[in-house]
Symmetry: C2
Subunit: 617 residues, 2 copies
């Protein structure tokens, strides 16, 4: 591990100027006092998993939501926190680096200093490895100075992405005890926040006084639920990738001889691919969620692309841009089944060279059909979350090859009459992850950092910092905290040999909602994108002038104000109580009972385990 963590760096003009940018705080977090309002105790969206989760998290399940309000807010039950004792907080970067991660630290540091200059913040060096090994750096203004509004996790680095084994959990606890930490903040995505919840539970039951807080930081944008609208890093990643995709579109249209197949980083879900499509209008995108839902095979997808190429050729076009999410390989049924067999054999210790011989006849036939480079990539060991090494599997190359073969066939058969098909493949991911964070991500992360402090000041454990109403300006943002357990679901079944994963509560990556407005927007325009070359170039990430305040389409088109609605429901219930007070007329009471009984009926049906409204299309 390198020894120059946290050192000051010599940086060019733009970076310097960005380092001087001071994100704004929403009104509720300005000043030194903050009012906390607790809502009702939480449940989970997945009611069928409710019992499993509450059983696994006896100390931390069912805790109430928390809303942070300005001290002058007129809310009866809210509690003002005026005492700010000296506290000691640690934080750890866990999971893929996402632009904005540094600002969480900065926000947290500033909040600590504002409320008590004697409080201290420690960063674990090299991520979880530092947490286990008690290697840390005390964060100071000097350490922070060159990392404000900067990308990467290089202030401290990151290593493994999990805190899960008994050994790891005990090492983390020992670290917190040795350092006498009042709080531990975990910066990461779905896996890291699931680990944060587990750690919180373990600490609580072991009477370890350290409170654990999670922060939703992941470029994948898949930590999305009732409480979390988007993740730190997603905005930047989509902007940088959209810039490049748009450049590729312009390039395709200028030379008119290439089809570009671009695979996008983003893990299992296709959020990045969807957002980039809405930003750049490439000709086609194959979302993993569509493939899953329609159970499209490799042959179906190839045919779909070939039909598009052929239709474009009929319009005189021999160029195009096709986007593919990196998770696609796991959504194609036959490839998924093949991967399951391979991973099963690997788990049983079968050496790589022997795997192809031990596959079932069906899987073996598919394996042989695939080109050598792709076979090698399928044989890579799976990642810690048991998924395939998505970043290393060049699905875009496989599709390009299959499409080329099929188009050549159609050409011979006289069905395709266009020019020679030429494909160029790209994988966009690593080149975006280290970007300077956008203004939105800089602000979002900084405010989340502040919220982490308030969660700890309120003595909460096992919570995630949340901000809603994000599509509006910062002064309209609503700050809160939600128990991480309320975001969990339980997988009810599992394929293949991974039977041990059944029933373990976790935050699962949210997939693209095929009934959501963002997807609807895509469907409405897909035909235009396909034929008309309606390319759109949002340009490079700007920090001043036009474009600098742009936000993600997928954030802005959805009407997501869950927290606001929860509050509105509460006010309806209160109003019913106020109207139907003892002494009201019999008629009013009968009407209320009848109406409420009908409400209960509807909700009971909708929340019964057999109700399939969520998954049926």
């Amino acid at each position: 591990m390198s020894s120059n963590y946290g050192i000051q760096r010599d940086i060019p003009d733009l970076q310097k100027k960005r380092a001087l940018y001071q994100p704004e705080l929403p009104p509720c977090l300005q000043g030194t006092d903050v009012r906390v309002e607790f809502g009702d105790g939480t449940t989970t969206a997945d009611l069928t998993g409710h019992h499993v989760i509450s059983h696994s998290f006896p100390c931390t399940y069912g805790q109430p939501l928390a809303h942070f309000l300005r001290p002058t807010a007129k809310v009866a039950d809210a509690q003002i926190i005026t005492e700010h004792p000296t506290i000691r907080v640690g934080f750890v970067f866990s999971g893929r680096q996402s632009p904005g991660g540094h600002n969480v630290v900065w926000g947290l540091y500033n909040a600590l200093r504002i409320h008590n200059p004697n409080s201290s913040l420690f960063g674990f060096i090299g991520g979880t490895e530092g947490l286990f090994a008690q290697k840390f750096l005390k964060i100071t203004e000097e350490v922070l100075s060159t990392y404000k509004n900067q990308g990467g996790y290089d202030m401290l680095g990151r290593t493994q992405d999990q805190i899960r084994t008994t050994e790891q959990v005990n090492a983390a606890m020992a670290s917190c005890q040795t350092l006498k930490l009042n709080g531990l903040v975990i910066v990461g995505g779905v896996t890291s926040n699931t680990d944060a919840a587990q750690l919180a539970e373990t600490f609580a039951s072991a009477k370890c006084p350290t409170k654990v807080v999670g922060v939703p930081v992941t470029l994948n944008g898949d930590l999305k639920n009732q409480f979390v609208e988007t993740n730190v890093g997603f905005d930047t990643i989509c902007k940088v990738n959209s810039q490049l995709i748009s450049n590729i579109c312009t390039d395709a249209l200028s030379a008119e001889k290439y089809y570009y197949f671009v695979r996008l980083m983003g893990r299992k879900a296709s959020h990045v691919a969807l957002e980039c499509t809405l930003q750049s209008h490439p000709n086609m995108v194959i979302l993993g969620e569509e493939v899953s839902s329609a159970k499209l095979t490799l042959f179906d997808i190839t045919t779909q692309i070939c039909d598009a190429v052929q239709e474009r050729a009929e319009h005189g076009k021999s160029h195009g841009v096709v986007l593919i999410p990196e998770g696609l390989v796991e959504t194609v049924p036959e490839l998924y089944a093949l991967l399951q067999e391979i991973h099963g054999l690997q788990k049983n210790g079968v050496p790589t060279d022997n795997i192809s011989k031990q596959l079932s006849p069906w899987a073996s036939a598919l394996f042989k059909f695939l080109p050598p480079f792709f076979r090698r990539q399928l044989l890579l060991l799976p990642e810690s979350d048991e998924s395939a090494q998505l970043s290393q599997i060049e699905m875009e190359k496989l599709l390009a090859q299959l499409v080329e073969t099929e188009i050549n066939k159609r050409l011979k058969a006289g069905i395709y009459k266009g020019k020679k098909f030429n494909a160029i493949c790209h994988f966009f991911g690593y080149q975006a992850r280290g970007s300077l964070p956008s203004k939105f991500d800089s602000d979002y992360a900084y405010v989340l950092g502040h919220i982490c402090y308030h969660i700890l000041a309120a003595g909460l454990n096992g919570y995630m910092a949340t901000i809603t109403n994000l599509k509006n300006p910062v002064n309209k943002w609503k700050c809160g905290a939600a128990p991480i357990t309320a975001m969990m679901t339980v997988k009810q079944w599992s394929y293949g040999p991974r039977t041990n994963s059944i029933g373990k509560p976790a935050i699962h990556p949210a997939t693209v909602d095929l009934r959501g407005k963002a997807y609807e927007l895509l469907r409405q325009n897909a035909a235009n994108y396909l034929i008309d070359d309606d390319y759109r170039n949002p340009g490079p990430l700007q920090f001043e002038g036009p474009g600098s305040d742009a936000k993600a389409f997928t954030l802005c088109v959805e009407d997501q104000d869950y927290m606001g609605r929860i509050k509105k429901l509460q006010s309806y219930l209160d109003k019913v109580k106020t109207i139907v007070k003892p002494g009201c007329s019999q008629d009013v009471l009968v009407a209320a009972l009848s109406s409420m009984s009908s409400v209960i009926d509807v909700l009971s049906v909708m929340t019964a385990p057999s109700y399939s409204g969520q998954s049926y299309l």
Copy 2:
């Protein structure tokens, strides 16, 4: 070919704002009158080729330099052009699309309109193919409106990159005659400008009245000589690539587990790789020019990288970033020789499948040693300029594999003691080519467009539009024109079976000057870059605020004012004449003769064919 060329597009905020940006003109081009001063007749830097060139270009060789001055400039012999008859001008995009190409058209269009509103501009559709087929679009303010300051060549598209065969040249001439063109402007790189010179010569000897003008537009930055300081597109490409390389550096430093091997587009020369290195400070760059000059083999380069990996491991570092120019493959002696054999066999009609069997024993052994993906890429047919298909040959993957094998060997032998070596490969090119042009490229291209008009107004043929003093603000830029033949050289020898290329005058791509200041800057810092992770992030291309006025390091560090020096020399000679007028003292005359004789001696030695000061290192 698609039918929607030149259509207006719906574009997002930043693009709209950019479309409204109006580049400034240097003082000499402001107003409606321009003064032209003609310098001495030109020669070539390569005196040995002088005769061949003058013989090949009897009509257009040796024409004088032209300088455009403001009408008030006090220069005795300058000619003011006040008559601006209606003219008809055509233009064609030729060669790889480069950011800024559209602005050349815009500048030319505006200059035409300012000087005579009845003049007209025609753009050939689909590049050279449109030129040959007489397919064109009349350029209007409406056509231009959504392409101002925008990337790509998609206003009109481009196809083949050459105008060379008799058939092509005749078709071009027929087009110019049918359209009654007074001028034809060719926008492109070294190949296209060589073709422009040939066309000018052919037109002149055939008494075709169309004057041909070239514009140096190429992202490769390799059209560099006494008259041309840099090319339109180079600045943008380097900025976009540097942004991505810097992101990759931040990523490497955050995760500390990958070595990134990044190949950069830029053809034979390594200008893009050098500039990006100075911008981003990656750990290593392998310049093709270094490899050529030191005759490094594949083994040498692998060893060099492995030694670096090992040294970094000794400093506890298991990550890094290595840049490679796409031209590298042709500079490694054994790969070059192998490519020559392959291309020779291809020229003789040997089918691809049989080539490996017909290679010489030595080449065959090397071919077998190379991994299958790389063999396939070497077998691709060469491009029109007889070079290999550089963009398709994944040299970065080959090096990554060779380094991995060697590091694993050293690990077993106990020499390398670091962590497991993991490489990730990238090719950056297509994703930068279509970018919105930087402010510099927008300005440079726009002003060059204006100069094209003045070249035609002055009745010049076979000239290239030039601007010098580019590192200074626009109001200090010096505008001129130089005969394209003065930029030509003649290759004195050639390897292998391509003997037909001997002796043909052409503009050859300028390579990185290993004695230049930019390279010196790299060498001074190479040791720091290698070990210290002195990464620098210039950030995404900005259009407002800090960074937006940045210019390329390679442009700014060189002291290039060739045109200024030519003028200064003229003034010295004039001064000698003034001092040593008939009637001066015998002493003064003797001193003058003695001094001048010594000057002549020195210059004669330096310009003799055997003098090797240019190529000796």
